[in-house]
């Protein structure tokens, strides 16, 4: 069975992709719709959603309103499917797909654990290089140009929002689509350039190699070696997700946004895409700046800290890495919720000034300085 999987990489990839998306990303995205409403309620001194309940005979399950997302999903599926009379039907249907498909596909490059060493699950890996002859990588697609793949696909998401705005045949959605396209394009440049410093340090574009380069010592993680890039990337990437304080394309009280004519599950896709994007952003930040699946002082054979050692079997090491990786992502998602409900919306001129006149020059300077430091230290070390 395992040999079959190792030989047939496409089947392996399908299983890993299904597990990653269906067992991690989708549940987390659904839960974060609930978490966002509860978090905003807490910050605004309200109760928030707490009424959805499941009645099984005499048992009433309320669970702090967690079931609201189930109710929301069901509602969206069975709502009327409205396509405006003068809308371009093909593009109107294509736009939501273009909004969510790229972000789901790019999850393929995210490594979520160290390579599984087949046949040594319950042994301590003292010498992984010679012991592991066949491995299953815990990453769907390991390609050398990993981050190039991500940026190439991420720029497709712009089409989703712009086409939604144009195809709806509505003034508000056109305005929203235009705002979204100019905002996403402005910040995409900065996003790509801000990570360049990290690529210089790790000497690769491949996410798994980056995680390995950071190692289990937190002082060599990206957030320590590239602190400026961390802040620039986080800001630019939040602008890419079009959430407050960068929610001008949506602008709830004024233009409602590029999806104003969308209803039911068609709207639901845009809504879900936004939350999947926050999770993906968290996954990228984790990979580049927070050591990915690395756990502080956890090596392939167990914990090593200041002469103190705790040996662990391979499977336990991988499980700890998986849990810590998930925790890093959940914390970063929560950080985005806090930012979203703390900061007020930018004005368009402030948005453009921040992107082009502050973040872009800062990321260019960051590249030059990082290249200089890497050069100065690349002699004997």
């Amino acid at each position: 069975m395992l040999e079959f999987l190792i030989e047939h990489t496409w089947l392996q990839a399908l299983i890993k992709m299904a597990l990653l998306i269906l067992a991690f990303v989708m549940p987390l995205a659904s839960l974060s719709t609930w978490a966002e409403r509860r978090q905003s309620a807490m910050m605004q001194d309200r109760l928030g959603p707490n009424r959805a309940e499941l009645r099984l005979g005499s048992i009433e399950l309320r669970l702090w309103g967690i079931l609201h997302f189930v109710a929301d999903a069901l509602k969206m599926v069975f709502k009327e499917d409205v396509v405006p009379a003068r809308a371009n039907r093909f593009l109107f249907g294509l736009a939501p797909i273009l909004a969510i498909a790229p972000v789901i596909i790019t999850f393929a490059i995210i490594p979520f654990g160290s390579d599984l060493c087949v046949g040594h699950a319950f042994e301590v890996l003292r010498d992984p290089a010679s012991m592991c002859t066949s491995t299953i990588p815990l990453q769907v697609a390991r390609i050398d140009q990993g981050f190039l793949f991500y940026f190439a696909l991420a720029s497709l998401a712009v089409y989703g929002t712009t086409l939604a705005g144009w195809a709806s045949y509505n003034k508000w959605s056109l305005l929203g689509g235009l705002r979204a396209s100019s905002q996403m394009m402005s910040y995409e440049v900065t996003m790509g350039l801000s990570l360049m410093g990290a690529f210089l340090i790790y000497g690769t574009l491949e996410p798994h190699a980056m995680v390995l380069a950071q190692g289990p010592t937190p002082s060599s993680w990206g957030i320590v070696t590239q602190p400026l890039a961390f802040f620039i990337f986080l800001t630019a990437a939040i602008a890419e997700t079009k959430r407050a304080p960068f929610d001008l394309p949506e602008g709830e009280p004024e233009i409602i946004g590029y999806f104003v004519e969308y209803s039911g599950m068609r709207f639901g896709i845009f809504f879900l895409a936004e939350f999947v994007e926050t999770i993906f952003l968290a996954a990228v930040v984790t990979t580049v700046f927070l050591g990915g699946w690395q756990v502080p002082w956890l090596y392939p054979d167990g914990f090593h800290l200041m002469g103190w050692t705790l040996e662990l079997p391979h499977l336990a090491v991988v499980l700890i890495q998986l849990v810590v990786w998930s925790l890093k992502i959940i914390v970063l998602c929560w950080l985005q919720l806090l930012i979203r409900w703390t900061l007020p919306r930018f004005r368009p001129d402030q948005l453009m000034r921040l992107g082009w006149k502050q973040l872009l020059p800062a990321s260019l300077i960051n590249i030059v300085v990082t290249a200089g430091v890497v050069l100065a230290r690349s002699g004997g070390r």
Binding site: V77, F78, D81, R86, E188, G203, E261, M352
Partner: protein, 133 residues
Amino acid sequence: MTVDYAPTLVALLFGLGFSCLFMALAVLFGPKRGGETKLSPFECGSDPIGSPRVRFSVKFYQVAILFLIFDIEAAFLYPWASQFRRLSCIGPMAGLSCLGTVTLFGFVEMLVFLGTLGVALAYVWRKRAIGWG
């Protein structure tokens, strides 16, 4: 080293299939009742005035052109960034550190490239093509 692209293709198909499934849910289960008012463009409850195919500010177009220029710049920088240590080392390398002579070649080449783009950025800045007014 050969790279296996089958998983990438699987990911592409999975992502597309998954999104189309959601779309199918909307089309299959959503009832369709229609009605002239419901299907007319939403404009805050009043009758739509004019066509939504209006002219829009040229600034959006400007931003798109500037995006193209600077994004291509970024595309040129990716290979440079991942091969930077190799470019600045004459002789053998051990992992990420250079065993031979360190050279300024890669660094200076990129300074010239970034410098040119810096001048371009300064130019569009002076011409007020970036920023909103």
